[in-house]
Amino acid sequence: MSINEMKILICDDSILARKQLKDLLIALGCKQIVEVSDGQSAVETYKTYNPDLVFLDIVMPVKDGITAVTEILTFDSHAIVIMASSVGTQSHLKEALKAGAYDFIQKPLQKEQVKRIVMTVLKGGM
């Protein structure tokens, strides 16, 4: 898989947070990016879009990130889900990792963190 073939799903209720991550991914060469704004849409979109990598916010309306990561992993146990955590969500973060999320990154996201994750997925290292 090359970087422009990698399918990425971004899920965050803040349009600014989605834009920031999308801009970073585009700068890295990613081309196939789909955005959604709540956990329910993330689960539904995962099933039809079948992404290689998911970035999931924790605190969201309709369905939170913990429930969403659990449902995504029940559907596909090989899903690579990265939790994007805001300050003050440490206790949720532990739950998400326990539920099977692969890793987490802290917001505001930094280019190097995102690059590290994308490169690891590309190399099939996860």
């Binding site: 209720d13 803040s14 947070a17 605190v59 969201m60 300050v87 003050g88 917001k107 505001p108």
Partner: protein, 296 residues
């Protein structure tokens, strides 16, 4: 931080009109250098290191200098040197007021002396602006909230003022707090704090002030009430409440979590509890911060 409260004092003493204060606050913004900018200017830190510290401040409630010291980017001596170049805001405010002919040098000096004696602030504190002194000033300013009985609320307000300075700017003055039983919000975002203690938090403003606040926080060009402005104010609330949750966990062993922020217009709040309204006058308008501690 004293300078922001000093602005309110000048208003109450009728030494300035609110238009004059707003004008001075606007001018103030262009005259002040941040510690990070000075550190780059002096060649002590790279722009990347400064950016790294700004990001670290979104993860924990710490001063720029303290993080720079922890990461060995600055020595104690360098911090002191930079602080000495960073003129205290109250002096810059005085300069603007005098330059603009709004106050004479004598009027400014006399008002400053009266203010310091009213709030028992000594000269050293006024220059260095220590955190402990911030808290004592905030407790005095917000005494109508009954600080000793509302410690949780006071922690919230104290951090709010710090976060406004860190993430929005120094050009504001707090107005007297108001306690409401019901509140009509024109344009706003709200977020509930849950977990070991429940609280309601919200931001309310006129449409125009809401957009300007969003613009300040995001640093992006924003002129309309759209998804981006709504997200920006929601993100500020989420960041401030997140830092509050971290502080409460570290200082009070209270584990708090947050619900997703929500945008609302023309909303009538009636929460069966007193709503503390903390109005902050910025150069672009008034932003009301609402707080309800359900367990007070």
């Amino acid at each position: 931080m004293y300078s922001q409260f000093f602005g309110n004092y000048l208003l109450n003493e009728k030494l300035l009109t609110s238009e004059e204060l707003l004008y001075a606050l606007q001018r103030l913004k262009s005259k002040q250098a941040k510690l990070g900018a000075l550190a780059v200017h002096f060649g002590y830190m790279t722009a990347e290191q400064v950016e790294e510290i700004y990001i670290a401040q979104t993860h924990e409630d710490k001063m720029f200098g303290d993080i720079a010291l922890e990461r060995n980017y600055l020595t104690k001596e360098q911090i002191q040197e930079l602080i000495s170049f960073q003129k205290p805001t109250y002096l810059t405010l005085g300069e603007v007021l005098i330059e603009e002919g709004l106050l004479t040098a004598e009027e400014f000096e006399s008002a400053l002396e009266k203010y310091k004696s009213t709030y028992s602030i000594n000269d050293i504190d006024f220059k260095n602006e220590y955190k402990a002194d911030h808290d004592s000033l905030i407790y005095q300013f917000y005494d109508s909230i009954n600080p000793t009985e509302n410690i949780f609320t006071m922690h919230y307000i104290s951090l709010l003022i710090t976060n406004i300075i860190r993430f929005i700017g120094k050009d504001f003055t707090p107005q007297e707090p108001v306690i409401y039983e019901e509140f009509n919000s024109e344009t706003g975002s709200r977020q509930n704090i849950i977990g070991a203690r429940h609280a309601f938090t919200a931001v309310d403003a006129s449409r125009e002030a809401f957009i300007q606040f969003a613009r300040r926080y995001s640093g992006l060009e924003m002129t309309e009430l759209d998804e981006y402005t709504k997200a920006s104010v929601g993100d500020f609330l989420n960041l401030h409440n997140g830092l509050f949750a971290v502080n409460m966990s570290n200082e009070q062993s209270l584990e708090l979590t947050l619900e997703a922020p929500e945008f609302l217009t023309n909303y009538h709040y009636r929460l069966h509890k007193s709503i503390f309204c903390i109005p902050i006058q910025f150069s672009f308008g008034i932003i009301n911060f609402l707080f309800v501690d359900y367990e007070s």
